[in-house]
């Protein structure tokens, strides 16, 4: 695949209690990172981020969506650190994005711009600072 990091937006923002409450309502699958005690409360791929909350999360997106996001929410962050969003297209690395994570609770996201040639199976690995995979999200870009 041609070199690509499409439009990567890394947004960092502290979340208000309302957001935290909304995040808690999502079907979360926490993955604890032993060394950094980083707890991944939520990780989804979605079509947009509205007011810091993922909207239209799914596992298949039409290529006409133009842009998709990987949203991650970390809970009980002990100290400031960073994570990686590693995007793969058909097992081939596509882009690796470094995102800051701050205590005590933090959400962050990355995104890619979709092109016609991007149809197929994708995955995003959420990795901690040491490269340990906290979560793998699998999805497809379709017609």
């Amino acid at each position: 695949m041609s070199p690509r990091v499409l439009c990567i937006a890394a947004a960092v923002f502290c979340l208000a209690g309302g957001i935290a409450g909304e995040a808690a309502a999502q079907p979360s699958r926490p993955a604890a990172s032993g060394s950094t005690r980083l707890t991944l409360a939520q990780a989804v791929v979605c079509e947009e981020i509205r007011d810091g909350v993922p909207a239209n999360s799914a596992i298949a997106f039409p290529v006409s969506t133009a842009k998709i996001y990987c949203f991650t929410l970390f809970d009980a962050v002990a100290e400031d650190t960073f994570v990686f969003h590693q995007w793969y297209f058909r097992d081939r690395p596509s882009s690796r994005i470094r995102l800051s994570v701050k205590a005590p609770r933090w959400s962050t996201f990355s995104s890619i711009q979709l092109r016609e040639a991007d149809r197929g199976p994708w995955r995003v690995e959420v990795q901690d600072a040491s490269g340990r995979v906290l979560k793998t999200l699998r999805f497809s870009i379709t017609d």
Partner: protein
């Protein structure tokens, strides 16, 4: 002389066996079928084939085609037309006589007594008609008659055809050394070109011989003549000796005594020599004809591979083999008869350079390897390992605009594969075959096969070939 010695030096023991075996088979055919129509027809066919070769050599296109067609059709027809003769040879003779020995020439009928009796009848001007069957079954051609089954004697023949005897009309059937039937009615010839002095007996004799290979002997009561009908031809016989000779010829056997025995031995020896010469010439024309070259692209077959190693890749999948041999043999060689086998028993993990020589090429007899290209192979081998991989659905197509695919749970989520370590190391995900989103309902279960690429990879024992997908859609927000 030097060339002859050089040629003899190139003969293999297989060539000698080849020539000897086929010469003997040809000789046995002669022994079994000599004296029959089959043998004559075979000789005729051989001559036709010979003429066809000459016609082809001279460039007579139509003549060559016509003769070729006749030979091809005749070879089929001969089996049908001469089925009785072939059956007689294969059934009547025992197995030993088919493969060994020359059948003794025994007398089938007391032909002298028969001949003398018939000429005595001629002298007395008593009409007579005697039928001696050949190889074919003539029972369907005979009508009526009275079973007789009497051993042939001069007195009996004279009494059968005595004009006062109720059975003197019709034909007497001679089988072996007996008169088996008398007063039999034969089919009459419909020919219109027969002389007017020939009566019903002659017409009946010709009628039977037109339809079979039997011989009919007619004694004319008007002229006191003896005639022999055979093959739809009627021939006057001058004396008893001539009749004996003709009958013996008909039986295909002559007494093995005196000069005749020597003549027979000479005939058999000549036949054996002709068979040997013919097959030797045939063998030489096929195996030592003009040198011809031909090349085949032959796929490489690997054998004796260590079960713990996998062939990852080879520098070539096929090699070009150039063969030489006589034109006939080379032209008749098919690509699937040429095989290149490479022994991997000494190959280990990593790159292995393996030479390809004539010894790696197996060929039909008489063909030789002139060249092999390339002359070596680079085969990369790797350890066979197992690896468990996560399964991911390869969705395709499109859902309705208002729907989204919210979730899909796979069962099993991971599958174990077996294959080359190098290939498996580069694989991180095992995908399913493409699953069209148009097949989905609001929620449901699908069973989807796995897409295993490359084909050298295999599912580990116990791993399923399909995964079950439990999916859920939801409305777009």
């Amino acid at each position: 002389m030097v060339e002859t010695i050089s040629f003899l030096g190139t003969l293999r023991w297989q060539d000698l066996v080849d020539i000897g075996l086929n010469s003997y088979i040809l000789f046995r055919f002669y022994v079994l079928f000599r004296g029959t129509y089959v043998f004559r027809v075979l000789i005729g066919l051989t001559m036709l084939w010979f003429f066809q070769q000459i016609a082809a050599y001279l460039g007579l296109i139509v003549t060559s085609w016509v003769i070729q067609g006749i030979v091809a059709v005749a070879a089929l027809i001969i089996v049908v037309v001469f089925r009785n003769e072939i059956r007689n040879v294969l059934q009547v003779r025992n197995l030993k006589s088919i493969f060994w020995g020359v059948p003794p020439k025994t007398r089938v009928a007391p032909v002298e007594i028969l001949a003398e009796s018939l000429f005595e009848l001629a002298r007395r001007r008593h009409g007579a008609l005697v039928v001696v069957p050949g190889e074919e079954d003539i029972r369907e051609l005979l009508q009526g008659g009275i079973a007789w089954n009497g051993e042939i004697s001069r007195e009996m023949i004279l009494s059968i055809f005595y004009p006062g005897n109720p059975v003197h009309d019709g034909a007497a059937l001679v089988e072996g050394d007996r008169v088996s039937r008398v007063s039999a009615i034969l089919p009459l010839s419909r020919r219109e070109d027969l002389p007017s002095h020939l009566g019903t007996r002659h017409r009946a004799a010709l009628g039977l011989t037109e339809a079979s290979d039997a011989v009919a002997i007619v004694v004319s009561e008007e002229r006191g003549e003896v005639s022999l009908a055979r093959g739809a031809k009627l021939q006057r016989i001058a004396d008893a000796e001539s009749l004996v000779e003709r009958l013996e010829e008909h039986f295909g056997v002559a007494e093995a005594r005196g000069p005749e025995a020597r003549r027979e031995r000479l005939e058999v020896t000549t036949a054996a020599l002709v068979s040997l010469l013919f097959i030797t010439g045939f063998w030489y024309s096929i195996s030592r004809g003009l040198e011809t070259l031909v090349s085949f692209e032959v796929p490489v077959e690997y054998q004796n591979r260590n079960p713990g190693l996998e062939i990852v890749q080879a520098s070539v999948n096929s090699v070009r083999v150039t063969l030489s041999g006589s034109g006939t043999l080379v032209k008749s060689t098919r690509p699937d008869q040429v095989r290149v086998r490479v022994d991997l028993s000494g190959a280990g993990a990593g790159e292995n350079t393996i030479p390809i020589t004539a010894g790696n090429v197996s060929l039909p007899p008489g063909i030789r390897v002139k060249d092999v290209s390339p002359q070596s192979l680079l085969v990369e081998m790797d350890l066979t390992v197992k690896k468990e991989l996560p399964v991911q659905v390869d969705w395709t197509g499109r859902l309705p605009e208002h729907l989204m695919l919210a979730e899909a749970v796979l069962e099993p989520q991971r599958v174990e594969l077996v294959g080359s370590r190098r290939i498996l190391e580069s694989l991180q995900t095992l995908y399913t075959e493409k699953v069209p989103l148009e097949r989905l309902r609001e929620a449901g279960v699908l069973e989807v096969p796995l897409s295993i690429q490359p084909a050298s990879l295999k599912l580990a024992p116990g791993s399923p070939e399909k995964v079950v997908i439990r999916y859920q859609t939801r409305r777009r927000e």
